[in-house]
């Protein structure tokens, strides 16, 4: 009787441990359906960011399922009531070498495989019309506000024709947009999930940031750095327009600067 009880106990524990990787994998498989997965990607480098994520997820996932499998095997193998007594060991150099070398190699692989993506997105700005010295726009984070400034026709950011707008950012599609990110007070983080773009805004720093949106549409902009009680209020929009629509918008805003007040 007691033997049967013990057997049932072993099986129950084993099943519980088996459930962990199964449910884990199931969550990942179902995540897109449950809307827990990434939002669609509309930026030119988003696939590479997602690729890094997927690589690491696969590596971690396989390791996780493997170790869980070994764990369940060990539970079943060594929990028999009549199991022989454990013996004392100083360890195995070979095993230790293996389980140190393999993760080390994996980490080196991760470190090297992301370098090109990192330098492409964060270090080397793309060749194009806009550069760090001559950016497309300036974005200021402040408590609790995103403010964007577009330069005047002479690329000047404090002239009379500078266009300023709160929370709504307009950009043309298929253009490498380089912009300056600044903060007026504390740390903020400029995060557009569908662009796979997240960059801290640091007080006193002029951080050049770039992206290239490949589809027109309106996308959420949020602050991803807890910046104070009104952090949640820093929700803006990025409007990606076709080039001609963008030009018309900009022209309209420039004209509106010299409104005589009859239309507002």
């Amino acid at each position: 009787m007691s033997q049967l009880k013990h057997f049932l106990f072993r099986i129950t524990v084993a099943v519980l441990f088996v459930l962990v990787p199964i449910l884990g994998v199931y969550t990942f498989v179902k995540a897109p359906e449950w809307r827990l997965w990434f939002p669609e990607n509309v930026s030119s480098y988003g696939d590479e960011i997602d690729g890094l994520f997927h690589t690491i997820t696969w590596m971690v996932g396989i390791t996780f399922v493997g170790t869980e499998g070994v764990l369940v095997y060990l539970i079943l193998r060594f929990s028999k009531k009549d199991a022989s007594k454990a013996n004392y060991t100083h360890g195995s150099h070979v095993l230790e070498l293996i389980w140190t070398a393999i993760p080390a190699l994996l980490l080196v692989f991760v470190a090297f495989s992301q370098m090109s993506v990192w330098s492409k997105i964060k270090i080397n700005l793309p060749d194009g019309e806009y550069t760090a010295e001559n950016p497309f726009m300036e974005v200021y984070g402040s408590q609790f506000d995103w403010r964007v400034r577009y330069p005047d026709a002479d690329k000047n950011f404090s002239g009379a024709d500078v266009i300023e707008s709160a929370f709504d950012i307009y950009v043309p599609v298929d253009t490498k947009i380089v912009f300056r990110l600044k903060s007026r007070d504390v740390l903020h983080s400029f995060f557009v999930p569908k662009f796979r773009l997240k960059q801290d805004a640091v007080p006193g720093m002029n951080i050049p940031v770039w992206f290239e949106a490949e589809e027109t549409g309106t996308y959420d902009l949020i602050c991803a750095e807890l910046c104070g009680w009104g952090h949640y209020k820093m929700a803006g929009k990025v409007h990606v327009l076709a080039q001609d629509e963008f030009d018309a918008w900009l022209e309209g805003r420039r004209e509106a600067l010299y409104s005589n007040g009859s239309e507002d």
């Binding site: 609790f144 000047n156 404090s158 002239g159 010299y258 005589n260 007040g261």
Partner: protein, 458 residues
Amino acid sequence: MNRNRHLVALGAASIALAAACQFEPTIVELHYSLNEEAIQSNNLLADDKNAQEHLSGALEFLFGTATNPSYVVLPDWRDEEFDPNNWGYYLLSDEEFDALKESNAWTYRVQIAAIEAGDLDAVEEPRYAGDLWARFQSLVADAPDDLDEPFDEDDPEWSYRDELIAVFESYYPNQRTTADLYRQQCFHCHGAEGGGNGSTADFLNPRPRDYRPGTFKFTALKDKAKPRHADLVRILKEGIYTTAMPSFRRFSDAQLNALADYVRLLAIRGETEILMIADFDPDEGMVPELLQENYELVVDRWRAASDSMIEYDGDVPRYDDHDAAERITRGEELYLSEKAANCVKCHGLEGRGDGESVKNNPDDATDDWGDPIKPRDLTRGVFRFGRRPIDIYRRIYAGINGTPMPEHFGMQIIDPETAETRNMTEDDIWDLVFFVRSLSDEKPVVHTETEEHGEASH
């Protein structure tokens, strides 16, 4: 034994922790309170608790409660087909209504997509829109299995699906829902009755606006007129940069329009209250005729707001006009001259907002809300109600309500150049605008006299 004691302690700690996690924030129901400061100014009323009750009741009759605000519609207004309860909605032009629908379509994009796909169960309840959700639910209860069936038998083109989408797209919140949105977004600074006395107000500088005196700083109007609907919506959309007033663009246009309506209700309520307190006579009590008179007076002022628009008939001058440099020079003379605009008195020699009146303020003069006066630092390029030339023009033209910034148009000055006495003109104000902007712009003037011949044609 010892082990048991540990277990008991651990159990007790877990229960305490679990109990703490059960904490549920309670929703405090808001009530409009009376304007204590105003009551203290009228001794007769301050001592008469009974009359205060009457005043409370009268205000509740006119404006409803903080959870269910609603105006009383006077018979005259009915004849004119004016209903303050739908104020903002009827001010919308066709284009503005289209923009509102577009904004709703974005705000409720997830819900609309689900309706388009025919999956009504997947429609999520939107936040801050109880009336919208109730309307949708009541329609869903009657919805046929095939959403393509006509909603109304007389109109076969308009399907049930179209109607469900229209509920979201054409949404304009009712006053009850808006009062709830106000409670969640505005109350903590501006207070239940808009007294600028919410719980976070004491931590803010500048303090949040007290709506009750009915004075609003930022309007496009002259003659100290009440703000227009568009002025209030603009503040909600743009926020007031460098103050704690944020932009509320994450809400839909419909919600912002409705919030502007509610701010107007609170201001009208507050001003009616102040008038009633000032008029109080213990022998007569709260006279219904007086109540109606004051109510109508205040509402009429708000209705007349757009008559006082400041528009400029000509083309707004630009930096690339050939006379821009002279304008700046003339503006500077007007700015500095004591007998002219005398901006220097408050804004200082360099425009840093540190003029004599700030350094030497023996009476500790305050603005209308009792806050210290801070002339704008013009060198920072931050203009709270917009940085377009016309915005700065309007500030100089009409002054800023509730502050010592005076109306300049028509002000009697001594011309700094000719030493003649004359009234300030629109052109003088443009000169000042040019000078003020040159204090913060990196590159104020492009064209000089000699360049003019070559490329002055734009």
